[in-house]
Amino acid sequence: MEKRATFSNLWLAAAFIAPQMLLVFVFFYWPTGEALYWAVTLEPPFGGSNEWVGWLNFETVFSDPKYWNSVRISIAFASLATMLSLVIAAMLALFVDRRLPGHQLYKFTFFLPYALAAPSVGLAFRFIFSPDAGFVSAINRVWPNLWNPALDGWDAFLLIIFAQSWKMVGYNFIFFLAALQSIPRSVTEAGAMDGASVLRRMWDIQLPLIAPTLFFLIVINITDSFVDSFGIVDVTTSGGPARATDLMVYKIYFDGFEGKDYSLAAAQSIVLMLLIIALTFIQFRFIERRIHYS
């Protein structure tokens, strides 16, 4: 006799998943469908006469050197911000895990930045890093014009990387700490008895054991830098100077909402969506599978 718990009533099952399906449809498939439709037509701002144009919007996007510039910047931004944020978060977590004095307080405060919305982070960083009036202006008093994100593209780019990684450090920290604390103490203690120093134990025992968490965080961080960096860019640099911080998501906003070219923005967001799907797929499919300790 088979013993399997199955629903023989399909309608009941459908009724149970219907609310979720409805949510997914309303908040994901519907907007995506609309964006797809706009991407293959020319949509006037007030609606009305859309004209079918096929691939024209995508051709316009791909033949635009400024778009490729934006793609390059976005990729550099995502990798650098992710790296910086993960390195700092891992360091903080390793030290808190060693239960240094005051670690409870650190645990709490390190997480705080993640609770801030991106625009508030941007605003804070704009003030702190303002070349005339901010805390960092002290540097300019010693070396004039060394730091000026309003005029120097590199400075502006660094500024948004700092802001993004600062925002994500808290989130990464919590995950790293949880992972570190799930490592059996006996493993590190055995290492200590074999004479491995603190740093050696971190490098050879703890870090390899938290690798699955690390790869999970890489996915989350890269996705976040692609889609959630808008608030920071909008408040600190507005994509400037001279497009040095014109991330893909900011360009979509500008072309769509400021420029009122909904079709061009829709085509770009389809491209961004495919890119995120591809990145996530690659990372989960190939990288995460290989990291497996048991």
Binding site: P44, F46, E51, P131, T236, S238, F257, G259, K260, D261
Partner: protein, 443 residues
């Protein structure tokens, strides 16, 4: 704080309304923010208190661009307001939208009796269709003027503002020699750099009369004296005569001028009040018309600001209420005078200007100098190059040019190469716009 005042004001008006019969309500959305937004909110309150039949429900949208975006989104969801304040650059989108109730038609249908001829030609022409019809009501208007520090100019033995760009260049050199660290504050904003420069010197920005002739217009500003003008800006920056001042640098143009760190700048007359209120105590300054290439051939400068649009698809009762409101906020006595007294904006009609003059408004030392803006707007008869700019998606074109200017000013690009790139990309934007509105005739 602001919100609580607003809420209080709204509850008060609501209570007053409930006591005095059912009022007809309609929605008005505005784009101005900060102090200026409060002036508009108060204008609504004054209207609501002035009569008992109608009630304007006024909502700030948090910026001119947001006001346009939100109106578009609301219209698509059939939730649009009855009246909306839209900035100059959004004019063409609204004209082509098919979503508006034309102002001149509305005037006829609801008996507003607007004296269209009384609008200053520079203002009327800017907002009018190619055929000269007004489809919106000019509300808050400004133009660019030259702000100059009298003490700084006294150091080089001058008591008058420079009239030409050549004279200004000499002054900058002398100012530098006299120890003024920053003679001129500038930024990448195209409204002053490109648009006002071209209008006052009778130079085209685009073909087809800057776009008034049709959607097929092409940009030309990379082949006009504007190129040399930007080369001068670049040279002044390199020689230390001028400085870039933006919010991102720490101080914008107005702040850098008001605290005395830069001796001159060019910005909207609407900032006149801000400079007066935030200046360092002993700063002696004045405003003048912006310099031109040839003082004997000055043409009028362009208007900036916003106008009020009536939207389609509302009930007759709401339109009647809206008509009463528009009558109130556009009349010289209750409209223009209120706006001019509480902001740096200028009157939009000859009648409003005369009224203020007769009341001695411009004799008040705090307001003195604001009539310069009127003189600048009416410096000549309105010609095809000084009428205005009617280009599709002009916000994006401005942004393209701004990015290129940023690259030019920081030395990443040659002036000519930067302007060529801006024109090339601007033309692509215009062609896309033309294709999006294929078959639509420019009104």
């Amino acid at each position: 704080m602001k919100r609580s005042i607003l809420v209080a004001a709204m509850t008060m008006t609501t209570l007053a309304g409930a006591a005095a019969q059912e009022r007809t309500k309609f929605e008005f959305w505005y784009g101005l923010t900060g102090d200026l937004g409060e002036v508009v909110a108060n204008h609504c309150k004054l209207f609501n208190e002035s009569q008992a039949k109608y009630e304007a429900v006024c909502t700030g949208q948090g910026g001119y661009d947001k006001a346009e975006q939100n109106t578009i989104a609301a219209y698509r969801a059939k939730q649009q307001p009855t009246i909306v304040q839209i900035y100059d650059a959004g004019t063409l989108n609204f004209m082509l939208s098919g979503a508006i109730y034309k102002a001149n038609q509305f005037d006829k249908d609801y008996g507003l009796n607007v004296d269209w001829k009384s609008y200053f030609p520079g203002i009327a022409n800017y907002y009018a269709t190619t055929g000269g019809e007004m489809w919106s009501f000019p509300y808050n208007s400004s133009t660019a003027v030259f702000y100059w520090n009298k003490d700084a100019w006294a150091k080089i033995g001058k008591s008058e503002a420079p009239k030409t760009w050549a004279e200004f260049a000499d002054d900058l050199k002398a100012l530098k020699a006299a120890g003024v660290a920053c003679g001129f504050a500038l930024d990448g904003d195209t409204w002053m750099n490109l648009e006002q420069f071209s209008a006052t010197n009778n130079i085209p920005i685009a073909t087809q009369d800057n776009g008034y002739g049709g959607l097929s217009a092409e940009l030309v500003f990379n082949k006009t004296p504007y190129v040399d003008h930007m080369k001068n800006y670049k040279a002044w920056l390199d020689q230390g005569y001028a400085r870039i001042q933006t919010t991102q640098v720490g101080k914008n143009l107005v702040q850098a001028f008001a605290d005395g760190s830069c001796a001159s700048t060019i910005t909207s007359i609407a900032n006149h009040g801000t400079v007066k209120n935030t200046q360092v105590p002993d700063l002696k300054w004045d405003v003048a018309m912006i310099p031109v290439l040839d003082a004997s051939k000055r043409t009028n400068s362009l208007v900036g600001g916003a106008s009020l649009w009536v939207m389609q698809g509302k009930s007759k009762e709401e339109y009647e209420a809206a008509a009463a409101f528009l009558k109130y906020v556009t009349s010289p006595e209750t409209g223009e005078k209120y706006i001019v007294k509480n902001t740096g904006y200028i009157p939009v009609t000859v009648k409003g200007f005369e009224l203020l003059k007769s009341e001695g408004f411009y004799q008040d030392p705090k307001m003195a100098g604001r009539e310069v803006a009127i003189a600048s707007l009416t410096a000549s008869a309105v010609g095809p190059n000084s009428r205005g700019i009617r280009l599709g998606n002009f916000t994006s074109i401005r942004s393209e040019l701004r990015s290129e200017l940023e690259a030019v000013f920081t030395g990443q690009k040659d002036v000519q190469a930067g302007l060529d790139a801006a024109v090339e990309r601007g033309d692509q934007i215009l062609r896309r716009y033309e294709q999006t509105y294929k078959g639509a005739a420019l009104p």
